[in-house]
Each structure stands twice: as C-alpha cells, then as structure tokens.
C-alpha cells in the first residue's frame, strides 16, 4: 500500500523534473509531458521529428534530471547487432586468455537509438529483447539490463531513401509515438538565445531511478472507473476493420488495428496523466489525450485509405468523435 504522502507528492516530483528539463529544452511541453508519462509508465518511446529539434538534447536532459546513465546509439546501415548488444572478447588474464562479455551501449538506463530506421532489420531486431525483456542474450547467455530501463528511439519523417521501416512487431513495443513539432517564433528565438551563448544553467538531478520506480508504483495504484476502462478498450477494438461494430471509415481505410499492447499502453499512461493533472482517478479526458500517441504507430492504412488521403491521425480523431462515453 502506497503511503498517502507519496501519492500527494507525485505531482510535486513531476514538476521538479519538468523544471529541470525546462532549463535545457525550450517549449515542446506536450512532448516532455508525454515522454515523462511513458517513462513513469515503464514504456519505450519513439520520437519522430525532423533533425535539429532537440530530440537528443531532450533525452540527455531527461537523463540528467533523473540521474540515470544515458547512452546514445547512432544507427547506420552498417551497424551490426553486436555493436549495440556487446560481444565476447578475448581478454588476457593471469590464467591465460578467456572470453569476457563486453557490454554494448544497450547496457544503460536510458538508451537513445537515433535514427533507428537507418539500421538493418537485423540490428533493429537486436533491440527487441532489450525493449521488452530488459535483457540481452549473447552467445546463449542472458544479461539483465538496469532498472529502470528506457529505449527512446528517433526517426526522421522526411528521409525515406536508404531506410528500413520498422516492422510492426517492433513498432508495437513502443508505448508511445511522439511527434516532435517545429518550434514557433517565440520558442525559436529562445532556443537561439539559449544555445548560441555559453549556457549558465544546466539540468540538475531532481530524482533518481529509485524515485522513478516509486512514481511508477504510485501510478499503478490510480483507480479507473468501469465506464472509462470500457471506453479505452472499445477505442482499441474499434480500430479493427474486421469487426462489424467498427465505424465505416475504419472498415474502409485501415488494413489492421491496434494490438492489446495498445490497450495496456493507454491505461498505463492514462493513470500517470491523471496524477500529473492532480486527479486521483483516470478520466475520459486522459484516454482521449493519450489515444493519438498510443495508436498512431499501431494502425496501418489500407490502399483504399491511402488513396482517399486518410491519415492515422484523422482516423483516430474520427474514432474519438464517434465513440460514445459510458
């Protein structure tokens, strides 16, 4: 049973972390909030945005504010799985030569997989076990990863040549897919002002891994009413075109719908968001706010949908408009 003080201090903790991140990142508040939400919920995040928006800086600031080890992997087409997981190397010891496992960059708490879609599917697959099981198996030996453990992947929506689109199985392992937008005039001005002069203030540790795990435990206690739970589940079900109760648009524009992981992601992140909003229960608004991030990478447009000019965002918006509450 989580003590009351811990529950009441949740929002305060989050605000402290936010405040530290704000020292490094200008604007992007929805992105920061969703990122924090996913991390506290224990999920991995896929960040999509054009280069230069501060995605790497954001993740670095996050690791600083959470005092968690951070590693960055720049994915390229020639990157091999062993390059990221680690490999056995021969080490000369007193007793002679022996194999020792050399940990790869995956062995960190926060892993930034930059431009993940540039690596080969084989290398991308190497991430799968780490993302899901929080462990790495090399030469038959499984090595556990640190807790908490997050994989924050990025991809560029513009560069499509020479890339390897992530398979659905891997996409499904990302709790949220967050779109990083271009800053507005004011934000851009602040960014330029912050980064073109020596930075006087840097993000400090506002929490640590243990705090994060405690925050996760608190979030898992947040109750969700039956009507709200059913709303979330119906939302996921309605993304399936083969179901008769799905809207007409879904049945014509989608090829397949979201998996049960989408429902897990929705509810887990909604719990965190409720606490961030100062509530002690999940509301319909939480589900609606997180639905796009949870579902956009888990549904696929059919040829007809593409021909009609539909987008995943459009379909999700339509679903939220038509799905009745309660």
């Amino acid at each position: 049973m989580i003590p009351e003080e811990q529950i009441e201090s949740f929002k305060e903790q989050i605000n402290r972390i936010r405040a530290e991140i704000k020292k490094e990142i200008i604007g992007q508040e929805p992105v920061v909030e969703q990122l924090l939400t996913a991390m506290i919920a224990g999920g991995n995040v896929l960040l999509e945005g054009v280069p230069g928006l501060g995605k790497t800086r954001l993740v670095r600031a996050l690791s600083q504010s959470l005092e968690l080890p951070f590693s960055r992997i720049q994915f390229t087409p020639d990157l091999m799985p062993a390059d990221i997981t680690g490999t056995n190397i021969i080490v000369k010891t007193e007793n002679g030569n022996e194999f020792r496992f050399q940990e790869g960059p995956l062995f960190s708490s926060i892993v930034l997989a930059d431009e993940i879609n540039r690596a080969t599917p084989k290398t991308q697959a190497a991430l799968l076990e780490a993302m899901q099981e929080h462990s790495v198996t090399v030469a038959g030996e499984t090595h556990a990863l640190n807790e908490p453990y997050f994989v924050l992947a990025t991809q560029n929506p513009m560069e499509q040549e020479g890339t390897y689109p992530l398979p659905e199985a891997q996409l499904d392992r990302f709790m949220l897919k967050i779109l990083v937008g271009f800053p507005n005039m004011e934000e851009l001005s602040q960014i330029v002002g912050l980064t073109t002069v020596p930075q006087t203030e840097h993000a400090q540790a506002a929490a640590n891994g243990e705090t994060l795990l405690r925050l996760r435990a608190v979030a898992q206690e947040v109750p969700i009413a039956q009507a709200v739970r059913e709303y979330a589940l119906r939302l996921v079900l309605w993304t399936h075109p083969e179901l008769p109760e799905s809207p007409e648009k879904v049945r014509s524009a989608l090829r397949f719908g979201a998996s049960p992981r989408a429902a897990q992601a929705l509810i887990a992140t909604a719990r965190v968001r409720a606490l961030m909003q100062g509530r002690y229960n999940v509301a319909f608004e939480d589900i609606e706010a997180l639905a796009p991030a949870c579902l956009r990478h888990r549904i696929a447009l059919s040829f007809e949908g593409m021909a009609m000019g539909e987008t995943a965002e459009g379909i999700i918006a339509e679903l939220l408009k038509t799905l009745p509450r309660g």
Binding site: M1, I2, P3, E4, I7, E8, E221, V222, P223, I224, A225, Q226, A227, V228, R279, Y280, N281, V282, A283, F284, E285, R325, G326
Partner: protein, 488 residues
C-alpha cells in the same frame, strides 16, 4: 449510506425533477398525437365518446408519464455519471466504485471527489429547460387539434342518430319492463311472457342498430306466437276429443256466430261437463284455464262469457282480457320505434319520438282497457303512421286502406319489377316529392291488362319479397292483408 451517496442525493432529486418535467412534456406530446389521431379517426369511422378518450389521452398520458418518472428511482451511479459529465472527470463514478476500499489512494480519491462535488450546483447541471423541438411539436399538435373542431365531422350525425336510437330503445325497454310487471300474475302464461318481454327488453337495450333490434322483436313475436299456438292447439284438440269438435272447428275458422249457435244448442250442464273434461285433458295450463272458465260460464248459463273464454283458448291465450293483444301491441310499439329510428338514421333527421304515447296506452290496456279478445289493438299499424307523418288518430277499418295507407306502406320497387315508382315522404301534396321513372312495366301504353289477371302474381311476388326482406311478422302480415283485400 456513505458520505458520497448522501452528498449525491440532491443531485438525484434534481435529476428526477428534470426527468419528470421532460417525461411530462413527452407524455403531453404523445397524448396530443393520440388525441389528434383519434379525432382524425372519428372523421373516418364511428368513434363513440371520442371526446372522453381524447381527454384521457391529453390529460392522462402526461400525468402517467410524470408519475412513472417520479416513482422510478434514479440510480446513484446514473446521477454520478451525469455530474461527472458536467466537468468532474469521472471522479464520482470512481469514488462510488471505491466506496468499500480503504486504501490511501481510495481515500484521497474520495476526498477529491467530495471536494469537487461541493463546487457543483445541481440547478446548473440539471436545468429545468425543455427541448424547443418538443415544445414546438406539442404546441403544433394542440393547434391542429383545436383547428379540427372547425371542420364539420360527418360521423357526428351518425353518432347522434345512434345515440338517439339507443335512447329510444332504452325507453321502449323500460315500457316493456313496466308492461311485464303489470301482467296478471295469476295467468299461467305470465311467467313465460314475462321472460319473453324481459329478454326483448335486454336485447333492445343492447341493440346498437335497428336490424339487431328488429331481429329481437321478431324473435319475441315468434316466441309469443309459439306459446299461443301451443295453447290454441291443445285447447282445440282437447275440445275435439271430448265431443266438441264442431265448436272447435268453428272457433278455429274464426266463425263466432256459428260457435255461439252451436253452444246455445247444447245442454248447458253437458257442455260444462265436456269442457271440464277437456280442461282436465289439456296439457297446456293456459288452455286448461280457458276451458275451465268456459265450463264455469256454461254452468252458470253465461253463454257470452263461455264463448269469450273459448275464443281466448282458440287465440292461444288464457285470459278474456286484452293481455295477449296488449302484449303484442307492446312488442309492435317497440318494432315501430325501431322502424322510425331506422328511418330517422337513414334520413339524418334524428329519432322521431312518437312511440312513447302508443306504448303507454298499450300498458294501460293491460290494466283493464280494451275490448274483444285476442284480436289486436285498435291501432293497427302500431305507430307506423305517426312515425311517418300520418295522423295517428285516423281510424282504419280492417280490409279498407286509404290512399295514405298505400303511400305509407306500399313501395312497388320492393317487388323487384320494372315500372313506375313514386316515393313520397309524408302526405301527397306536402313535403318533398322525388320521381323516378324506371323502365317499361308490363304491357304498353296502348294496351291495358285487367289487374285481376296479374294480381295473383303480384301478391305472390310481394309476399315473397316481404319475407326475403326480413321484415317482422306483423309487417309481412300487412303486405299479405293488403293484397288479400285487393283480391276480394
């Protein structure tokens, strides 16, 4: 009850009030639509008491809806959902779900929900504001209903005629009941006659249309006829078996003079003995009573009284009074009333209330008026003349019919033959006259056919047509008597 449920009570009450107002207006709309549909139906079909059903629909339906809404409890969870939807973000629903839980999270959530509930005004969440479409629809229906009264309803005249008919039938039924009570309780036929009158009275009260009433009258007449026939046959048969067959034959033929002569020729004591024996042999009580009375009269030497008693027996009654005749008259009064009501319904002139007086005189006859035994009343057509604008006091002799009688009874078109036909309403020279010229009849203008050559054929056709037209017995007898008179 938990603190939360207690705090939700004002919300539930307000929600119930809102729902009741809404349902009342919906009920009003439904009621108005129902009333309007009934009003429309009343233009197309007969719809008795449509005003009553409309009132029930208009007033009863909204009241019923409001009552149901008020009585039907509001579930706490429904009230919670409604309040949550107004901005409490599922706090109340969650709190209700956790009402049994005592974890710190549940407690915090509950406190948070209660705190936010206090900021909510029930009147704002559940305003007593009704849908404009609903109100407009209701007003439109009310307006349409009101305007419908400006349109004349073709069924109303039918309904009022029917109501007048039923009123007349009730009056006739009361006269019959009165008459039944006044029947001589000592007479053997009285219980059966009372039953016939009572049944007829009941049928008349139930009758919704003239044909039903006429059928009931017909049935009553047939039952009286059968009763009288049984008495008559039994009395005559008993007399024949006891050596008075010649007297019985004369009575059967209606030869009063011969019967009187035969009786006077007989020894009084012997005749009395024979009549007593015949009375003892008679099965029918009424026949036995008449024969006994005749025997007593013969013994005392009162030939006239004896003859009257025997004539009663031959007529199928048990009394020298005009009970049977008055009885038949009462039945005919009822039939005449039916006939005049039917005519009134057909012409739309409303029921002509001309039968009460005739009926009352028939009842008066039961208590001691009249003369002659079993021959019928002095008013041969049972009020028909009066109902058709003819003088009820114009005396008629048997066998001679005036032109007015012809006008009121005979309608050549009933014979289903081509020929000239003239239909008049009322006396010639008065009222409307409509003339219909049909095809040529028998013969040509240059030729003439003596009526005696065709009268038999006419008579057969007329009698058959009268029977096929399902007329009451007395009306059929009129047709028969008419042609018999023409043949003589």
């Amino acid at each position: 009850m938990t603190r939360l449920e207690q705090a939700l009570k004002p919300m539930s009450s307000r929600m119930k009030l809102q729902r009741t107002a809404e349902w009342a207006v919906i009920g009003l709309l439904v009621g108005m639509i129902g009333a309007l549909l009934m009003r429309i139906a009343s233009f197309l079909w007969l719809f008795p008491k449509v005003w009553l059903w409309s009132a029930v629909s208009f007033c009863g339906v909204p009241l019923l809806c409001a009552l149901i809404s008020w009585v039907w409890p509001i579930a706490v969870i429904d009230a919670a959902r409604k309040v949550d939807a107004a901005g409490l973000e599922a706090r109340l629903q969650t709190a209700l779900m956790l009402k049994e839980s005592s974890t710190p999270m549940a407690e915090l959530q509950r406190q948070d929900a209660l705190k936010h509930l206090e900021t909510v005004n029930p009147k704002q969440i559940f305003p007593l504001k009704l849908s404009r479409i609903l109100l407009l629809s209701t007003l439109t229906c009310m307006l349409a209903y009101g305007l419908s009264f400006l349109i004349p309803n073709p069924q109303e005249s039918v309904l009022s005629a029917r109501a007048a008919f039923q009123q007349e039938m009730t009056k006739q039924a009361e006269l019959l009941d009165e008459g039944a009570v006044k029947l001589d309780a000592t007479e053997p036929q009285t219980p059966e006659l009372r039953k016939i009158l009572s049944d007829l009275s009941m049928e008349l009260r139930k009758a919704e249309e003239p044909r039903t009433a006429l059928n009931a009258v017909d049935e009553a007449e047939r039952r009286i006829e059968r009763l009288q026939a049984a008495t008559r046959e039994d009395a005559l048969s008993a007399m024949e078996n006891k050596g008075m067959s010649d007297v019985a034959t004369a009575l059967e033929n209606g030869d009063e003079e011969t019967a009187k002569q035969l009786l006077s020729q007989q020894n009084e004591q012997n005749a009395a003995n024979a009549l007593n024996q015949a009375a003892r042999a008679a099965v029918d009580a009424a026949a036995a009573q008449s024969l006994t009375q005749a025997a007593q009269a013969m013994q005392s030497g009162d030939l006239t009284a004896a003859l009257n008693a025997l004539q009663s027996a031959a007529a199928g009654t048990s009394s020298v009074t005009l009970q049977a005749a008055a009885l038949n008259n009462m039945v005919r009064m009822a039939a005449a009333a039916v006939g005049s009501s039917q005519m009134a319904m057909m012409t739309g002139t409303g029921s002509q209330n001309g039968q009460g007086g005739a009926g009352s005189s028939a009842i008066a006859a039961l208590t001691g008026g009249g003369s002659g035994a079993g021959k019928g009343s002095s008013n041969k057509d049972g009020g028909y003349r009066e109902a058709n604008g003819l003088s009820a006091t114009t005396p008629t002799q048997e066998g001679s019919l005036t032109l007015e009688d012809y006008e009121s009874i005979y309608d050549p078109t009933r014979l289903n033959r081509e020929g000239e036909s003239v239909q008049t309403k009322g006396k010639i020279g008065e009222g409307e006259i409509s003339e219909i010229t049909a095809g040529a009849g028998l013969g040509t203008v240059e030729e003439s056919v003596p009526y005696r050559q065709v009268i038999t054929e006419y008579e057969e056709t007329a009698v058959t047509a009268a029977q096929n037209a399902d007329l009451p017995l007395y009306a059929q007898k009129w047709v028969q008597d008419y042609f018999s008179a023409l043949s003589e």
